[in-house]
Amino acid sequence: MRRVAPLAWLLPLLGALALFSLLPGRAGWLLPWRLTGHDAELARLILWELRLPRLLLALLVGAALGLAGAVLQGLTRNPLAEPGLIGASAGASLGAVIAIYSGLGAAFALAMPLLGLAGALLGTLLTLALGGGGTLSLILAGAAVSGMLLAGTALVLNLAPNPYAAYEISHWMLGSLADRSWDQLGLATPFVLLGMAMLLGTGPSLDALSLGELQAASLGVQLPALRRRVVVGTALAVGAATAVTGTIGFIGLLAPHLVRGAVGHAPRRVLLPAALMGALLLLVADLVARLLPLAQELQLGVLTGLTGSPFFLWLVWRMQRESP
């Protein structure tokens, strides 16, 4: 029963918030009882063409980030691992930016998610190859790889004949769900779902791995195969998601930690709740971004960064105290 408990409150909360999130927006509150005639037609368009794809994208991307974070933390046995910290998000940004600004994306719509996941693959592989030594070396390698890939993103934007480069860089570094369309959702969804399916299947192996690499091997876990599966799954899920939304940090870090208290530390039990928690976190962040009465909507990364960074620091601080 312990395993069901967190799902029991997460799902209804997620559902209620998802429904609520359709009401507010910069065009005003869409209150069903106030819509008549002309307004109803407009409201239908806003609801159907703008807010619904935005909601679904928040759920999909949040779940992908939360799940990828949980799996990466399980694989690396490192509580600080998450897609944004190991270069997957930055690589995906670079891939998507190349697709958009070279015109490939306009000529061939699938180029954007495909290059996004290729970039995520590159970033993840580089980080895991360079930072295999331990907790700290993984994080340092991830920071270096992310820095390099983000510099690549900025370089592509600067080289493109694009006078708005400076503005658009902020999108790729801070992420946004605003003004997305069904087309973009449709392009990303198959890849994200495939990646998530691959990641969800790693649960038993991750459980065995939590006992140690030798023990896992003796239990029949093939570590190289597991690594490949996690890397490819993360690249598919996070790469395709980031190609549409830009880099959204910290969701993958926070979500697994927030559910661990309720489900325990066995990686397998964390996966699904972490995905739900990720969806919830991104939905809440997007709601706050929309509800704050500012002249301009906040980029999502501002909110996830403001809440995620202190948590990250607290995790580092706690790790140092536990294993000096």
């Binding site: 005003g28 703008l50 600004y101 994306g105 004949p161 605003a178 003004d179």
Partner: protein
């Protein structure tokens, strides 16, 4: 040659350079996209030493082609000094470091205001025309502008058309006190983003909510692919009833030059040609 005589020669040369220029400047550099446009309209290309790189990418096609054959600059101080200009045209806001350096070296420089209305355009055009020694050409341009303005006024529809200028970026909607707004009013339109109490930024939802009759979609910089262009192409815009989407070169529309009157005249024609929209379906 004795040193004193050399000094004398140098001094005389300096005097000659500093004397009231009977000859107009022949190596003019422009550091601003809008002064590029003015310069191209006022003087023959052989008197232009350099234009900004943006002049190759935006604006009138003939001027773009002309600019492509001239050296381009990105406004850095070193570039400009290396060109040995006898006159530098600059805007008031950009290339601040370069302008400060040029002032210290004593180079001839004219900082041109960004005109936001027709009176401002008359003033800056005359100012630049006088500086480059093309006063007569400047008056020809202004006469053409006045003719276009008169033609636009004659075409203006009685009931102003609701228009918004949008390029996909929420924060980049031209509001009141812009040349865009001036062009719209001249052409018989009302700028939704310029009305009192209008939002400071418009995301897609707000554009839909504002119900523009015409969405002037800013396309910029020929060939540049941008994220915002993808947003400006969102399917919800095509699904809106009674909306006409007209692309316009937003870079060129931001420049207070006489040619802006042609944009107003063209828009007035397009607004007049819009089919009437019934109030009932």
């Amino acid at each position: 040659m004795p040193l004193s005589r050399l000094c004398l020669v140098v001094l005389c040369l300096c005097c000659a350079a500093a004397a009231p220029a009977a000859a107009p400047p022949r190596r003019i550099v422009s550091l601003n996209f809008c002064t590029d446009q003015l310069l191209l309209a006022l003087v023959p290309p052989e008197r232009i030493a350099s234009l900004t790189w943006l002049a190759r990418t935006d604006g009138d096609a003939a001027q773009r082609a002309l600019a492509a054959r001239l050296p381009a600059n990105r406004g850095s101080a070193e570039e400009v000094l290396a060109l040995h200009p006898d006159l530098v045209l600059a805007g008031r806001y950009t290339t601040a470091i370069t302008r400060a350096l040029l002032k210290r070296t004593g180079a001839a420089m004219l900082e041109v205001d960004a005109a936001q209305d027709w009176e401002g355009i008359r003033r800056t055009t005359r100012e630049v025309a006088a500086a480059v020694g093309a006063t007569a050409r400047g008056e020809v341009l202004l006469a053409h502008m006045d003719a276009a303005l008169a033609a636009a006024a004659a075409l203006r529809v009685a009931d102003p058309v609701r228009v918004i200028g949008w390029n996909g970026a929420a924060a980049d909607v031209p509001g009141a006190d812009t040349l865009f707004d001036t062009i719209l009013r001249t052409a018989g339109a009302v700028n939704i983003a310029a009305r009192p109490g209008a939002a400071a930024s418009f995301d897609l939802e707000q554009v839909v909510r504002a119900r523009p009759r015409v969405l002037l979609r800013g396309t910029s910089y020929a060939g540049a692919r941008t994220l915002r262009a993808g947003v400006a192409d969102h399917p919800v815009l095509r699904a809106l009833p009674d909306i006409a989407i007209i692309d316009y070169p937003e870079g060129a529309w931001a420049c207070g030059v006489p040619a802006a009157a042609d944009y107003a005249l063209d828009l007035a024609r397009r607004l007049r040609a819009l089919p009437a929209v019934g109030r009932t379906p």
